[in-house]
């Protein structure tokens, strides 16, 4: 009897203690930390760890600590779905920031919609936010914006009849489709439309065909991975003198390294983060991107990528929304997200609204040109 009483008191005390220590705010994540999309998930995971740690060191949020609950979905949509379910039902997270690839994101969208939990995706394709889904937001630019940015630049250089060469990957195909869709709007005619396989090692045949198409004024390569580097080298080998554009998919030093001298003069749209050092001081993003770059590189001793930046933006948007809502109640956070205007992130200046769950415009992209093996800002 005495024992039972004692244990009841102990239990009550424990419950009280647990109550006195406020529950942490739980940030759920599922990222492709390993597998073929590891180059996306790895910097995303590192970024989330880094900044959740920093936020906690600065006193947390709403008087509570943050806790990161992260799973490795290995780029697999099926796993992503399982982990998202676990995040929602078992871990009871307050917000989900994750989904390195479009496939993973789209597999989780129905779960987030049904459970009514704010979900900020880190994947690229426009289908994530179009049509607008009540609970789903995203931070990276879309491939459509990349097409538009390139087309604007082409027009400025007087090229309206162009060739498109694209790979067979998901990113490549999606971007090709978006480019074809918006070309007309910008007065661009796509006169040649070639493709190559994911593991192809020689694109001279496709490029020779493009060279043989009359009246071509510029070439755009919608591609990802090593394919674009091979295209760039073959382009140089064939001595094609037309301007060559690449996509934001290869906006990394690796592309420049692989392509070598052949990359000279190639243009591509990319996030400000990549050129943090050469941004003018009055650029609105200068402070954010140099800050993120410094923190990340000091902690992990490896070069930043735009992908880690997407995770930074996702986390910061979630934090900002909770701060504005002054709660972690799902609907309040969601509504707060939609009200965010003028948030300066690594991906651009974000103006969210009930009809725009990405909030970026073309100014988020900078047109870069490779000169002497490094990026330079065009204009």
């Amino acid at each position: 009897m005495a024992f039972r009483l004692l244990s009841m008191i102990a239990a009550a005390l424990l419950a009280f203690a647990a109550h006195a220590q406020p529950q942490p705010i739980r940030i759920g994540a599922f990222l492709a930390v390993t597998g073929p999309a590891a180059f996306l998930g790895d910097p995303e995971q590192k970024t989330l760890e880094l900044y959740v740690g920093k936020l906690n060191a600065a006193g947390g949020l709403l008087g509570r600590k943050l806790e990161l609950v992260s799973y490795d979905s290995a780029g697999d949509a099926e796993k992503a779905r399982t982990f998202a379910k676990r995040l929602i039902e078992q871990d009871k997270v307050d917000v989900i920031v994750g989904g390195s690839t479009t496939g993973e994101t789209m597999a989780v969208v129905p779960l987030a919609e049904a459970a009514g939990i704010p979900f900020i995706s880190l994947a690229g394709a426009v289908v994530i936010i179009e049509p607008v889904k009540k609970w789903v937001f995203k931070t990276p630019h879309t491939d459509r914006m990349a097409c538009e940015k390139v087309f604007v630049d082409m027009k400025a250089r007087g090229a309206t009849r162009i060739a498109l060469i694209s790979g067979a990957g998901g990113f490549d195909k999606s971007m090709r489709a978006e480019c074809l869709k918006v070309a007309g709007k910008y007065g661009i005619e796509i006169a040649a439309d070639e493709s190559y396989g994911a593991a192809d090692t020689d694109m001279t045949a496709q490029l020779t065909k493009i060279r043989g198409t009359p009246g071509i004024q510029a070439v755009l390569n919608a591609g990802f991975g090593q394919g674009p580097a091979i295209v760039t080298r073959n382009y140089k080998q064939l001595g094609i003198a037309l301007p060559l554009y690449q996509s934001h998919g290869v906006a990394s030093k690796e592309y420049v390294k692989l392509s070598g001298e052949a990359a000279e003069g190639v243009r591509l749209p990319a996030a400000a983060l990549l050129v943090a050092d050469v941004l003018p001081d009055n650029d609105p993003q200068k402070k954010v991107v140099t800050g993120y770059k410094r923190e990340y590189e000091a902690r992990y001793k490896s070069e930043i990528s735009t992908f880690g930046g997407h995770a930074y933006d996702g986390l910061m948007l979630a934090v900002e929304a909770m701060r504005r809502a002054n709660s972690t109640q799902h609907e309040a956070v969601r509504a707060a997200l939609e009200s965010i205007k003028g948030y300066v992130g690594t991906g651009g200046v974000v103006n969210l609204s009930p009809t725009d769950h990405m909030g970026l415009d073309l100014s988020a992209f900078r047109m870069l040109e490779v000169r002497k093996g490094d990026w330079t800002l065009v204009k």
Partner: protein, 291 residues
């Protein structure tokens, strides 16, 4: 028009020569053991990756290449010694599955030992394209073609002039009879694996400056090499070379004249067509069922 044709031809010949080298590796092991070695592509990868790695560590390129080929040969020997030989009594299908397992292991090791990035090897003699009749060729393509030619000649000499080469041939014709003649079939197998691993590595090194190299570059090259070997006639050396070149040229012409989207379709249609009418492959043994 003819300049275009020439350009497609060069592209096809270059990649075809690489397919041929990979196919030769398949043929050698198949002859010695009836096993289709699905780790062949991983030898290609190991050659390229090891060279890049050693070259980055400051080794002169020729030394790095030699060491990488030796390393791949060692891998081949190890595969035979520690995976194939212990299972020598097992059916051929089991052995083939062992090689698939080995290929997955080797890819995993490459990711751990090296990294997951794509690497480019500097071209052996510069990147300045050479103009031939309106088409352009990279000096590296000439290296690929030249080296393939030299290797084919050397292999022919090896099989026809040396005792070891003849022992290999004898084993491929009739294993039991070879054994009864005093040929150590076990040693022959070891040599076959080492040799084909070295061949694969050479192919991997030759293409690394053109196509780059990474931990999974062997998957597609291995598959294409296998297709080339089947096309030429499994087990035939000349067939492997012919199969590789036909496959490479079919791909390039298909991409150039028909549609790049159907490039692989065209290549595999050619293979299907050939196998439909010549089940043994272009130069394979005309099937004569022994009863």
């Amino acid at each position: 028009m003819s300049a275009q044709f020439l350009q497609y031809l060069f592209a096809g010949l270059t990649i075809g020569a690489i397919y041929a080298l990979v196919a030769l590796g398949f043929a050698i092991i198949y002859n010695a053991s009836q096993v289709i070695n699905f780790a062949q592509g991983e030898f290609v990868m190991a050659g390229g990756m090891a060279t890049v790695w050693l070259a980055n560590a400051g080794w002169p390129l020729p030394v790095a290449i030699g060491a990488a080929v030796a390393l791949a040969a060692l891998l081949g020997l190890a595969l035979e010694k520690f995976a194939v030989e212990p299972a020598r009594g097992a059916p051929v299908v089991t052995l083939i599955i062992i090689t698939i397992g080995a290929s997955i292991l080797l890819r995993g090791l490459a990711m751990l030992v090296w990294d997951k990035n794509v690497h480019a090897l500097p071209a052996f003699s510069g990147d300045a394209p050479i103009r031939i009749g309106g088409a352009t060729v990279l000096p590296q393509s000439l290296w690929v073609l030249g080296a393939t030619l030299v290797i084919v000649v050397l292999l022919a000499a090896f099989f026809n002039r040396t005792l070891l080469g003849k022992a290999l041939l004898a084993t491929s014709h009739n294993r039991l009879a070879a054994q009864l003649c005093g040929i150590s079939v076990r040693r022959v197998l070891l040599v076959a694996f080492g040799l084909s691993a070295a061949l694969g590595a050479v192919a991997g090194i030759l293409v690394a400056p053109i196509t780059f190299t990474t931990w999974d570059v062997g998957v597609m090259l291995g598959l294409k090499g296998f297709a080339a070997a089947i096309l030429g006639g499994m087990g035939s050396g000349a067939g492997a070379v012919l199969g590789g070149l036909v496959l490479g040229i079919a791909e390039a012409m298909g991409a150039g004249y028909v549609s790049s989207a159907y490039k692989d379709v065209i290549a595999f249609l050619v293979i299907l067509g050939v196998l439909m009418f010549l089940p043994g492959g272009l130069l394979g043994a005309r099937a004569s069922e022994r009863v």
